[in-house]
């Protein structure tokens, strides 16, 4: 295992089509295996057999939730499958946004929550919970809609704050984001402090980051959204490579840096808003997965971006499986698992390959 990894790392400098296909193909297979593995475990002992029959039934197009389905199949089809898939999508998005922002801001500490968009989303959700708004609107859950609206508002705000003379300087983007983060977080804390303790528990649990089993309409919308944004980010991968060399160099190489920066900022912010609105703040994935993958396969974003997304997806699915089962029938916030499992692993990688950091 270590040998393969080391050989990948050595080949890090050159990206060939063959290497791309091998790495991404391997990760895709691994992802599939992880998804099937995660489907195996849950608070109830519904095993592989049910997975198979449930998938078969789903493929035959049986109406899920019809009385003919046994409880175990409903658990599989309506709860576990959407939840595992959601975990994978959220993890993949977090890691992809992390990669993009680390390159865009040229800051190894950047993660999807650094720019204040996440706090905007969180504030939107807090307001919705404070006023006790219902949980669905036209089949789509209300909380994510509020979260997304909050994220969009803060995105516009940060953009306006950071922009000067038609340019979008990276340092003012970072500063505006951090400060707005602080202000919005203060609002969230205010809201939790005026709520009755037994009501604010729900909000706190949400803020800590949690995955739930979404309905299929909501999952479908989120899936389309993630695929679209990740597709565009992939398309910009070469520009990311150039941006990491510094803006001056990028400009001299003929990259229209301002336009690319603006596009990347808006794209990542849109994706972050969506992630936070469906899952709250799940820390660690967006910052550590990109670093870990970069240490292993090098920093060419054409490979790094999709590889990080797949690894992020696998990591969060596995972490959420642990969160779902370790104290069964109760669950623990998945952020605890991502930090406790990812942190030591990352430190190990760091010791192992200090020189390749960034």
């Amino acid at each position: 295992m270590a040998d393969i990894v080391a050989s990948w790392a050595q080949a890090g400098a050159v990206l060939t089509v063959q290497r791309w296909v091998v790495v991404i193909g391997g990760l895709l297979l691994a992802s599939l295996a992880v998804l099937v593995l995660c489907l195996q475990f849950g608070a109830t002992s519904v095993g592989m057999g049910t997975v198979a029959t449930a998938i078969a039934r789903l493929l035959r197009g049986d109406e899920a939730g019809s009385p003919s389905l046994a409880t175990s199949e409903i658990i599989m089809v309506q709860i576990r499958f959407p939840r595992v898939l959601m975990g994978f999508l959220v993890g993949a998005s977090l890691a992809a946004v992390g990669v993009t922002l680390q390159a865009l801001l040229r800051n190894p500490l950047a993660d999807p929550y650094v720019l204040g968009v996440s706090s905007g989303s969180a504030l939107g959700v807090s307001v919705a919970i404070l006023f006790g708004l219902g949980s669905t609107f036209m089949l789509l859950p209300v909380l994510p809609l509020f979260g997304f609206a909050g994220g969009l508002l803060s995105l516009v705000l940060i953009y306006r704050l950071a922009q000067s003379k038609g340019r979008l300087p990276v340092h003012s983007l970072l500063l505006a984001g951090v400060i707005l983060n602080a202000i919005l977080t203060a609002f969230i804390m205010f809201i939790t402090s005026i709520m009755e303790p037994n009501r604010s528990a729900g909000l706190m649990a949400w803020l800590m980051g949690s995955l739930t089993a979404p309905g299929y309409p909501a999952l479908g919308v989120f899936l389309m959204y993630v695929v679209l944004v990740l597709g565009v980010l992939m398309h910009k991968a070469q520009s990311l490579n150039v941006l990491t060399l510094g803006e001056e160099t990028a400009r001299s190489l003929g990259v229209e840096t301002e336009g690319v920066k603006k596009q990347l900022f808006v794209l990542t912010a849109l994706l972050t808003g969506a992630i936070v609105s469906v899952s709250g703040m799940i820390g660690f994935v967006g910052m550590v997965v990109p670093h870990a993958v970069r240490l292993l396969i090098g920093s060419d974003h054409r490979l790094l971006l999709p590889a990080s997304a797949l690894v992020g997806g696998m990591f969060l699915s596995l972490a959420d499986t642990i969160a779902r089962t370790i104290m069964s029938p109760a669950e623990i916030p998945v952020g605890i698992v991502t930090a406790l499992a990812g942190g030591p692993f990352f430190l190990y990688l760091l010791l192992w390959r200090k020189d390749r950091m960034l």
Binding site: G42, T44, R80, G132, T136, P141, A205, M327, P329, A330
Partner: protein, 317 residues
């Protein structure tokens, strides 16, 4: 239970009025020997701290809605000079000065010149208690363990504030009410239920929580009983597997269960509670506050769980 009996016996002894003050420090579990020599007006709170009141306190601050309700129930409302932001029952409580809640404003609190602060064991920050002790303001701590404990608290507070006759009556009535409910549901098939504190993520009550006890007393079975924490985030998978017959949603004063929240639950069409349309709301304040309205809460919970049985013979209040 043994501790409660002991505590009751201790109060009976305290009433004997042996006034020689023994200064030996002993815990409540060794109760009997030292309680026998203690003054009539010395009390031990649930944190094991002993305090002495020369006369009934006239300026009391309550740091929990349940405590405010207790004091009003024993007609000691006039002695109450400060309450929390959440004390809204009885309506007279709304007219009292507010001091905050889990993090009360110490300046406001001290400015009220209380001669007694009564506080719940949970929620309150420890440094507030330390500060109040430095300021020589007596702080009496109540820890909620079970329903009988609430009635004992009412009687203890009654003795401290000089309304013991009324407090005893209130406590006895409540005990009677609770016993009647328990007798009624005894022998009936227990009903599997889920208490939905929060839908997304799903948070409920588990063993060790106050409401879990109430569910048992009202003739129900909490489907989260296997959980190890008192307020678990329950896995939806295990909810479907345990298949609750009744869903109970605690709600505030005005709001009901929102249409969309009901829809969220109705999607689980194989769940017995959904099939039978048994999604019920219950006043959150009655169950969440370990105060005199707990019997009312237990009554309505029992009525939800065993509707046929209660229609004819509702107990009078």
């Amino acid at each position: 239970m043994g501790i409660l009996v002991l505590a009751m016996a201790a109060f009976a002894n305290a009433d004997d009025g042996t006034s020689s003050m023994a200064r030996r420090q002993q815990g409540i579990l060794t109760g009997m020997p030292f309680m026998a020599n203690v003054s009539a007006r010395a009390y031990v709170d649930d944190a094991g701290r002993r305090m002495y009141f020369a006369k009934p306190p006239a300026r009391i601050v309550s740091l929990a809605p349940s405590i405010t309700e207790m004091l009003f129930a024993m007609e000691a409302g006039a002695q109450l000079v400060g309450v929390t932001d959440f004390c809204d029952y009885p309506p007279e409580a709304l007219t009292k000065p507010k001091v905050g809640y889990s993090n009360p404003n110490l300046e406001t609190l001290v400015a009220l010149q209380p001669d007694l602060v009564v506080t719940p064991h949970d929620f309150l920050k420890p440094d507030v208690i330390v500060k109040l002790e430095q300021l020589k303001i007596p702080v009496f701590i109540l820890a909620d363990k079970n329903v009988e404990g609430i009635f004992v608290h009412i009687q203890t507070l009654g003795r401290i504030v000089g309304h013991s006759a009324k407090a005893d009556t209130v406590a006895m009535q409540l005990r009677h009410q609770v016993a009647t409910i328990q007798q009624r549901v005894q022998g009936m098939a227990p009903v599997r239920m889920l208490y939905v504190l929060n839908s997304q993520p799903l948070i409920t009550v588990g063993p060790g929580s106050f409401i879990d006890q109430l569910i048992g007393m009202a003739g129900g079975v909490n489907i989260a009983a296997k959980s190890v924490t008192p307020y678990p985030r329950l896995s939806m998978e295990s909810v479907l597997q345990e298949d609750p017959e009744v869903l109970v949603f605690p709600v505030g004063k005005a709001e009901g269960i929102s249409e969309s929240e009901q829809q969220t639950w109705r999607q689980w069409s194989t769940m017995t509670a959904v099939k039978r349309s048994r999604l019920h709301q219950i006043s959150a304040d009655w169950l969440n506050r370990p105060g005199p309205r707990i019997a009312q809460g237990l009554e309505s919970l029992a009525a939800i769980l065993h509707p046929d049985n209660t229609s004819g013979n509702r107990t009078e209040r």
